[in-house]
């Protein structure tokens, strides 16, 4: 019921015919202008905006919303009822029609919704206005227009008239003359004629005007005079007379009583009762779920699609236009890839570009930096002289140290192009391409740790350390010398075709033998009871016993021992064709010659070696093919040819100091023969190219050889047939090596003029390897003459002394 009624009232407001709608609008505007002075009005004016949305909803979804309203609005309804009753009767006149219309409109079109909304607002306002404002209802819109036009024309007319007639001026409030305009004379029927002049003072405390006769100014600046006011009696009477006095309020601006409208009264009433002033405001409206909180199968938003969704965007269009313009003007080139500019290249950097680490990457070697003489204008000292130029040009291009000649140009612009540029660049590239560059891992080994721990040479004394004396007298190379077994005498063989005998301790030449030929070799008989030595020249070997120096008994024994075999000379001739044992002549005999062995092979005998017992001795003539080694027996004057066939050129032979072994050194090998079994027992492979000399340790188990290719090899016969140690200290060919007979020292002498002394300890313990320690170098011990240095060295049999002979004709003693 209630709802219906309410609807009805709403409709009533809006239902007014299309014609009247405009009027209503106008009225509302007017009313708002009229009631602008009162607060209540302003509050009313605002209201529709607030209530706009719920209203809208009400219209569209009546059924859902309305039930809520039911309970809340009984008082409202009453008021409305009242107001409706009080308001115009016209509306009640045709309720059917309006409902019909409404039904039509609602059923017909949704397009007019918006219109309706506005209408609703208007109708609301209208419906709440009081009767007083409906004065102009009768006026049509057209009429109004006409009126306005008329008014304009009238104004114009008036102006023209007045301007013609007179222009009046009065002094204005500001002291300047002010044109006094004629009073606007509203024509008959002027709507505003009945209206009270509107006070324009604004919202000021009106008591300011209490002492004035007027209460303000109208729109034309004319004073609005205070309305006449009666005394208290009049007031009372007025109150009594006016039935509406109890609902009237004095309007301050107009100083008149204004009857409050039902609406205003309603508001007052609501405020007084502590309710919302707006009757239409529903604080308990149901929430509208614009976005539902429940999950939906088909999530369709109930909100209307916004316009922007289907209207092209203006701003996008603008933006696109900008881009299009830029493309047209060429500021933007489509399809171009942005290239990053290279950074500056550091021309003067020291190192190559740092590359990421990689094991196999090795930077190419740097090119050599140019030197001063490569300048176009080098300093004078770099310029080659004519001679140097010539030399350079004559040189083979490959041999040239530099492939250019420094040249001077006065200006840089005169420097010609470099002709070999391409070739050099090509070579460089070729080098980089072909040269295998290998990363070498450095070994972090302390080099000192690799050196074997050797005892201090000072602890290995005695060994010869210094020069003592020299034996001067020879005038040719001293090829060989030999120290007698007692260590007191020495005999030397020289190229000056002499042999000399020396007193070792004083350097005194005791005796000289003149031989017609170069003496190649001398060797003392190791037997102490035989006072004799053997010497060789050409194909002869002589056995000499120096007279007067030795004890007579020994001398006589020697003579007898050596020459006794001449008794059976007849047999010798028969069976011995290798060597002829000759008796010396008388003159030779006086010099001590005892026997002369004339070899039949007629080759120069280079070396004589004695057996330790002094009976056998061996002679070497390397050129004499199978007779190169002959072994002679002194006591029996017999000669044997131990080898039918020699393998290689014999360099040296030695008898083993203890065992019946015979060592034969050829160019590369040392062969050891057993004389008892007549067989080859061992071959020592030296690894050198040309053996020069050989010596055997007095214990007999170690052998040293010297070679012309600078090496000294130590063989341990028990160990191996390969060298135990190969020492390479000399810078030139080794001429001779020697063991000391008693002390653990050995020596080597070389063409570089040096004698090297080594400590060579051989232990009785078979498990312990020999200890070899270099202890002393006698530098430049002999002068080098025709590339020959020290030719022979030999240790003193007892003392730690060494004697050396050289190509400088001297023999020297070192102690």
């Amino acid at each position: 019921m209630v709802r219906q009624r309410r609807n009805g009232s709403n409709k009533q407001a809006s239902k007014s015919s299309p014609n009247t709608q405009q009027d209503v609008k106008k009225e509302s505007i007017l009313s708002s202008r009229k009631s602008s002075g009162s607060k209540g009005n302003t509050a009313l004016e605002k209201r529709p905006a607030k209530s706009q949305l719920p209203r809208e909803e009400e219209d569209s979804e009546e059924e859902i919303i309305l039930p809520n309203v039911d309970i809340d609005l009984p008082s409202d309804e009453e008021q409305e009822e009242e107001s409706e009753i009080l308001s115009t009767d016209e509306e009640i006149d045709h309720p059917d029609l309006s409902t019909e219309e409404e039904k039509e409109t609602t059923g017909d079109s949704t397009e007019s919704e918006e219109d309706l909304k506005t209408l609703n607002i208007a109708s609301d306002e209208e419906s709440e206005n009081d009767d007083g404002y409906i004065v102009g209802d009768s006026l049509d819109e057209d009429e109004l227009d006409d009126m306005e036009n008329m008014k304009l024309t009238d104004d114009n007319n008036n102006d023209s008239d007045q301007g013609k007639t007179q222009e009046q001026y009065i002094t204005g409030a500001n002291g300047y003359p002010r044109r006094l305009l004629p009073e606007i004379d509203p024509v008959y029927d002027s709507d505003s004629s009945t209206e009270n002049p509107t006070n324009t003072v604004g919202n000021i405390p009106m008591e300011w005007y209490d002492n004035f006769p007027h209460i303000g100014y109208d729109i034309d600046g004319k004073k609005i005079m205070k309305p006449a006011r009666g005394d208290e009696l009049d007031k009372f009477l007025e109150n009594m007379e006016d039935p509406d006095s109890w609902i009237s309020v004095k309007d301050v601006l107009s100083q008149e009583n204004v009857k409050l409208t039902d609406e205003e009264l309603n508001i007052i009433h609501r405020i007084q009762s502590g309710e919302f002033p707006d009757s239409n405001y529903d604080p308990y409206e149901p929430t509208i779920e614009w976005f539902t909180s429940k999950p939906e199968k088909m999530p369709v938003n109930s909100t209307a699609e916004p316009k922007r969704r289907f209207v092209p965007s203006k701003w996008e269009a603008k933006r696109i236009m900008k881009i299009v313009q830029a493309i047209r003007q060429g500021r933007i080139v489509p399809g171009r890839v942005q290239v990053q500019k290279p950074r500056y290249y550091d021309l003067w950097t020291d190192s190559d570009q740092p590359r990421e680490d990689h094991v196999m990457h090795i930077t190419a070697p740097k090119m050599k930096l140019p030197e001063h003489d490569e300048s176009y204008n080098p300093p004078e000292e770099y310029l080659p002289t004519e001679q140097e130029k010539e030399e350079w040009e004559n040189m083979d291009p490959d041999d040239r140290e530099k492939n250019y000649l420094p040249k001077k140009y006065s200006h840089l612009r005169e420097v010609p192009a470099y002709g070999r540029f391409i070739q050099e660049r090509f070579n460089r590239c070729l080098d980089l391409y072909l040269a295998p560059r290998v990363r070498r891992n450095k070994l972090n080994i302390d080099p000192d740790s690799l050196i074997p721990k050797l005892p201090n040479p000072k602890d290995l004394q005695p060994f010869p350390t210094s020069f003592t004396l020299s034996y001067n007298g020879h005038s040719g190379r001293v090829r060989k010398f030999s120290i007698d077994p007692t260590g007191l005498w020495m005999v030397s063989a020289s190229d000056d075709k002499t042999m000399k005998m020396w007193e070792i301790t004083t350097g005194r030449c005791v005796k000289t033998w003149e031989v017609k030929e170069t003496v190649y070799s001398v060797a003392w008989c190791p037997n102490k009871d035989v006072w004799a030595f053997a010497a060789s020249f050409l194909n002869n070997v002589v056995i000499v016993s120096p007279t007067k120096i030795s004890d007579e008994t020994i001398f006589d024994n020697t003579v007898q021992y050596i020459t006794s075999a001449f008794a059976n000379i007849g047999d010798n001739e028969k069976r011995d064709k290798l060597v002829e044992w000759l008796k010396p002549t008388e003159s030779q005999k006086s010099e001590g010659f005892l026997v002369i062995l004339q070899h039949k092979h007629n080759k120069t005998i280079k070396k004589i070696t004695w057996h330790r017992k002094g009976d056998y001795f061996s002679t070497i003539a390397s050129d004499a093919s199978n007779q190169s080694i002959l072994v002679h027996q002194l006591s029996k004057h017999q000669t044997q040819q131990p080898f039918r066939k020699t393998r290689g050129m014999v360099q040296d032979v030695m008898f083993h100091p203890i065992k019946p072994l015979f060592f034969v050194a050829t160019q590369r090998f040392v062969r050891v023969y057993n004389l008892m079994k007549q067989e080859l027992t061992k071959t020592l492979q030296s690894g050198v190219k040309w053996i020069s000399s050989l010596d055997i340790h007095p214990m007999g188990d170690n052998v040293i050889i010297g070679s012309y290719d600078k090496r000294l090899c130590w063989f341990d016969l028990d160990l191996s047939s390969k060298p135990y140690r190969t020492l390479r200290f000399h810078t030139k060919a080794i001429r001779s090596v020697a063991f000391h007979k008693r002390l653990p020292i050995f020596a080597s002498c070389s063409d570089d003029g040096n004698i090297h002394i080594f400590h060579g300890m051989v232990y009785n313990d078979l498990m312990q390897n020999p200890l070899i320690v270099p202890v002393k170098i006698m530098r430049e011990s002999h002068q080098i003459v025709e590339n020959l240095g020290v030719l022979h060295c030999e240790f003193h049999p007892v003392q730690p002394w060494i004697i050396s002979s050289g190509a400088d004709h001297s023999i020297k003693l070192w102690t």
Binding site: G487, D551, V798, Q799
Partner: protein, 425 residues
């Protein structure tokens, strides 16, 4: 302050001397420590009041002062607060070369007698007798090989008896007149089988000893052998004929074996007549008892002994070695080597004590220099180069003898050099 520093640098010393004529006051004297030998010598000369200054040498604790006093004190950590006793002796003046006597060959041995007669053995197999004027009074011919050693036996006004040993393995005793050219071989000693390197006469002139390369030491008596002993087998008839047929052959009293190598030198103890000292190449110095004919003691060193000399004043033996060192031995003590002096550059071939001083000795070397030593000083007093400083050939000195105030030396350059040396007692 200055006084204190002066005091600091001063020391109290007491000067003593064994030379009576140079005795000064016994009280302690304050002397600056920075003084050296020369400054101290000036002080002594000042105390003695000599107008002509005499140089003195100063000895502290048996050591010559060769540095300044302060350096010496620091080195030996001697407090400067004690009184130091300094002995001073007259400095030995540098030896003056007197004269040189030319020989035909190397001089291997020399002995002087009372600064009047000089006996030399030479490599030309001859023994010569010179007087101070360089006159060759006698040339004793007879040896068949170079002479290695000579020795005086008796010297009278008109005749001498001397011994010579030779590389021909014999020792000959000679009697020669100083007036005329007559001489004769008293006897020939045969027994060695090697060169006789050294001969030494017993102080009592009744015996003599000889050392040889055959590693034996033979002892001989001075007595004339009874008979002429002909050894038919040993000497061929031709040789015998060549020699003076009347030569008497002497045989040794005894043979002393001990050395294992050549014996280079032998010498009698002039104090204890029962002692004989010998040095050999086997690095040993041996002491022999003559009575018992045994090797009493053997002292070994590192190097071969080339010559030894005995001083009856100090009782010490000096030896020259192949390692360029002069060693001093005390035969009475257990210690092996008492002192060693190194300055020579080559073998020390000969050595001789001063007959007047217990401290001084002279050594000759293959480096052609003669050095005079005072055993209180580690460095030689003087170095003589008989052949001149520019002796480039390094003519070896083979023999040396200190005869009173004359130092005799001979060697490879065939000259007998005489150096005058005024020694201190």
């Amino acid at each position: 302050m200055s006084e204190t520093t002066e005091e600091k640098s001063q020391i109290q010393v007491r000067f003593i001397t064994q030379q009576r004529e140079y005795t000064v006051t016994d009280s302690a004297i304050l002397v600056p420590t920075n003084l050296r030998r020369y400054g101290l010598s000036e002080i002594i000369n000042h105390l003695l009041g000599f107008e002509k200054p005499i140089p003195f040498d100063f000895i502290i604790n048996n050591q010559f002062l060769r540095t300044s006093l302060s350096e010496y004190l620091i080195k030996h950590e001697i407090s400067t607060e004690n009184i130091i006793t300094i002995e001073y002796v007259e400095s030995m003046l540098p030896p003056t070369p007197l004269s040189s006597f030319q020989h035909d060959d190397w001089i291997s041995s020399v002995k002087g007698h009372n600064q009047s007669l000089f006996l030399t053995g030479s490599y030309d197999n001859n023994v010569r007798v010179f007087n101070t004027s360089g006159e060759c009074l006698q040339t004793l011919v007879g040896h068949l090989a170079p002479i290695k050693s000579v020795s005086w036996v008796t010297v009278s006004d008109d005749s001498i008896v001397c011994l010579s040993s030779s590389q021909d393995r014999t020792i000959r005793a000679w009697q020669a007149s100083l007036v005329d050219k007559n001489y004769k071989t008293l006897y020939e000693c045969k027994g060695h089988t090697g060169s006789v390197e050294s001969v030494s006469v017993h102080p009592s002139c009744t015996e003599f000893a000889s050392a040889s390369w055959d590693s034996s030491i033979l002892l001989w008596s001075m007595d004339m052998p009874e008979e002429i002993e002909y050894d038919i087998l040993a000497i061929p008839s031709k040789k015998r004929r060549l020699n003076n047929s009347e030569i008497k052959i002497k045989k040794p009293i005894t043979t002393m074996h001990g050395h294992v190598g050549p014996v280079s030198s032998v010498i009698f103890d002039t104090k204890n007549h029962n002692k004989l000292y010998s040095g050999g190449w086997d690095h040993s110095l041996r002491i022999w008892d003559i009575e018992a004919r045994t090797n009493v003691d053997t002292k070994n060193c590192d190097k071969s002994v080339l010559d030894i000399a005995y001083s009856d004043k100090s009782g010490l033996i000096a030896s020259g070695h192949s390692d360029h060192i002069v060693r001093l031995w005390d035969p009475r003590s257990e210690a092996v080597v008492k002192l060693a002096f190194a300055s020579h550059k080559n073998w020390i071939s000969c050595i001789s004590w001063s007959p007047n001083s217990q401290f001084m000795l002279v050594s000759g070397s293959y480096d052609a220099s003669i050095k005079i030593w005072d055993i209180r000083s580690k460095t030689p007093l003087y170095t003589l180069n008989p052949g001149g400083k520019e002796n480039l050939d390094n003519k070896k000195i083979l023999c040396i003898d200190w005869d009173l105030d004359i130092i005799l030396s001979g060697g490879e350059d065939n000259k007998l050099y005489l150096h005058g040396s005024k020694t201190i007692t």
